[in-house]
Symmetry: C2
Subunit: 459 residues, 2 copies
Amino acid sequence: MYDLIIIGLGPGGYEAALTALRKGLKIAIVEKDKLGGNCLNRACIPTKYFWTGAHNIEKLNILKNYGISFNGEANIDYSIAWENKEKAIGFLRKSLANLLKTKKVPVYKGNGRIIDKNKVKITNKDNAEEIIEGKNIIISTGSIPSSVGNIVPDGEYIITTEDYMDNLKSLPEKVLVIGGGVAGCELSYIMNKYGVKVYIVELMDRLLPSKNISPEISKYLLRKFKKLGITTFFNTTLEDYKIKNEKIEVKLSNGESLEVDKILLSVGRKPNSDVDEIGIEKDGKGFIKVNEYLQTNFENIYAVGDVINSPMLAHVAQYEAKIAMENILNNKKVSPDYSLIPFATFTAYEIATVGLNEEQAKEKGIDTISGYFPYTYNEKAVDESQTEGFIRLIFNKSDKTIIGGYIVGLGASELIHEISLMIKNRFTAKEVHEYIYFHPSLSEIFVYASYDIAVGKLF
Amino acid sequence: MYDLIIIGLGPGGYEAALTALRKGLKIAIVEKDKLGGNCLNRACIPTKYFWTGAHNIEKLNILKNYGISFNGEANIDYSIAWENKEKAIGFLRKSLANLLKTKKVPVYKGNGRIIDKNKVKITNKDNAEEIIEGKNIIISTGSIPSSVGNIVPDGEYIITTEDYMDNLKSLPEKVLVIGGGVAGCELSYIMNKYGVKVYIVELMDRLLPSKNISPEISKYLLRKFKKLGITTFFNTTLEDYKIKNEKIEVKLSNGESLEVDKILLSVGRKPNSDVDEIGIEKDGKGFIKVNEYLQTNFENIYAVGDVINSPMLAHVAQYEAKIAMENILNNKKVSPDYSLIPFATFTAYEIATVGLNEEQAKEKGIDTISGYFPYTYNEKAVDESQTEGFIRLIFNKSDKTIIGGYIVGLGASELIHEISLMIKNRFTAKEVHEYIYFHPSLSEIFVYASYDIAVGKLF
């Protein structure tokens, strides 16, 4: 009998395992695919690897500022980046495997199904079955790509983001991306910088159409996409497509016709929750239902990450895993607090948000006042020759405390934690403004974005 | 009669001016040299410009990971970097000048001397004199390079860091740097990456010999310097030198002889405090004495920045300027709090510290426990192919609250503010560990550096 069985070793499962091992629990892991889950193998980590490449291609033109030049143009070879992406995630996967091996943690390779509140049946790829027992179970089985309407992925012409990461070793000439959300915008930028002509079709009227992304961000990103030559179609769907002579003829709802080599589907993800035969409750969308302590309707069975209805982000899964572990280990139960989840995406810009934006605050009936500052005059950004971008900080109008903020530009995905910590600290605009930041640093954008509110306007 | 006269328009003076203008004060500025002070023209900003170049040269070898290659080797031309450095700081200087012009702020070009508690006499370069009157005065005249013993800068063979930034348009073959402190280590790295053979002579037994720099950091940096081919001599001084055939023959106290093209003096700075004829009090080292409200012995005359005895950092000057302005504007006086000043330096690594290190805590009688994590396993660092470096977080042993930390590696100068805000928040190791950071981000090093203390050891 194990103390804990973890089904699915993505970010949530991994975090739970690390904590359990440190607490001396006897654990077992069930994983049907590669260690590290979708995040490590097909999403967060490989996209940021490719993003580094894309961003470096974009930055080649600033090297000359520093007296660095080459004879002739750069040679760009995506297939080399792909191989090295494999090496990078292979290294991380191996570190994980080595750790589990050193700690003698059994990893059951196969599909895990909960057949009793303390039993998991594992079926491996040869259909051999094994049953293991545990006092507690954590379900961290993640999510799988959604599809829409008549568009059926075939892994060849119509591919999902997972197909992309698993198999696309070289890039075609033209790609139509269905969905201008996070994954769509990230892969569009990567493909664009590696030489692909990219078209995006988006059902809504903007890029990154999500509540936590202010329209101001979508507009700023769109301007850049246009400059990069990425073509976007909004309020549009794919009406029909036909595969002919290794090309896809596409008809859009706005009347446009295109010929592309591949269609990339990035229309969101759905929970991978078909994991039991004991009646674990799910909601209408298939998410496993959990209570405030992340317990399912069986109190010894917890669920964390994409498989429950909370933000589908790796760090949310990790956070929930810590909460679940605390509840498994202690009698006094704790609940997750989702108010300060940083969000970031790496596309033509690094974009990050935390807390409430003005639209979200308005919905909650909070009057806001906001401060803005462009990177143009930030000395560190000038030194790095990367002055595109801006910051907006959102304050409660009545007491001037900071309630949210977003950053578009260099370092956004790290700087966002400073905003998060300032919200946590209940900083007023004056405190944000007077806090001591290193000079010169990108963090000084906080000083200037809060100046008007903290001290008064200059003009 | 002005409301405020600001003598010296470096970071302190500039910050005071910005706040004063927002508060509607009638101000005048006295500046004998370029707007922006030493920081903008000869220190913080140009060094980070050159650092970006040096770092980009170092990073050229990772481009291939992402399928980016060139025909042949890179051509490195320092003089182009120098010209563009001039353009970058010129742009920032001009922004500053335009702002002052738009706000119709008189800028008196010349040497300012306080001749009465409300009067400043300005002598311009033609020896013409002018006297202006102000209700309040802020002295923000900064500092000038120190020299040592028998080594007399001549601007040609023996140069200061200011000579370097003002005049060194191309680099010689061999340079001896006197002083392995911040400026010495920053310029040594820059010159090394731009092809210079660099020797460092340091009186103490390590690089960056300062209380806020843990020996662990000095050691880590030294290992890198050796790898880069920078030669260091510790516990050593320059005994003698002779200029002969456009070369300098140098004799060191350890018996070594060298032949170099230039000697760069970077042995610290001293206050530029000879600014009055009314008996403003100074200490034994020439720093202007101020009380807890940053007032001199004349209550309407304040002093901020390098000219007073507080850490010689641009952001400290800016912070002090805000405090001085608050005290000028309000009856209720406030005092600066120096406990959370971030420090950063850009040399072969980005290095940053805040709060107390273990050595400093011990001196204060605080028992500590610390957590460490190398960049090696940080997924974002792996994605960026920049995995050198580490973090150490220092906690109070008794209650496990965070009291300090330092980072060596990518993003250190920004991430350090997160530590600062966590100290401000009085976070325990558990709170540092459970805080939600974006995945993947460099900020996740905080999760892992606090794991042992928050949850328990893995091995």
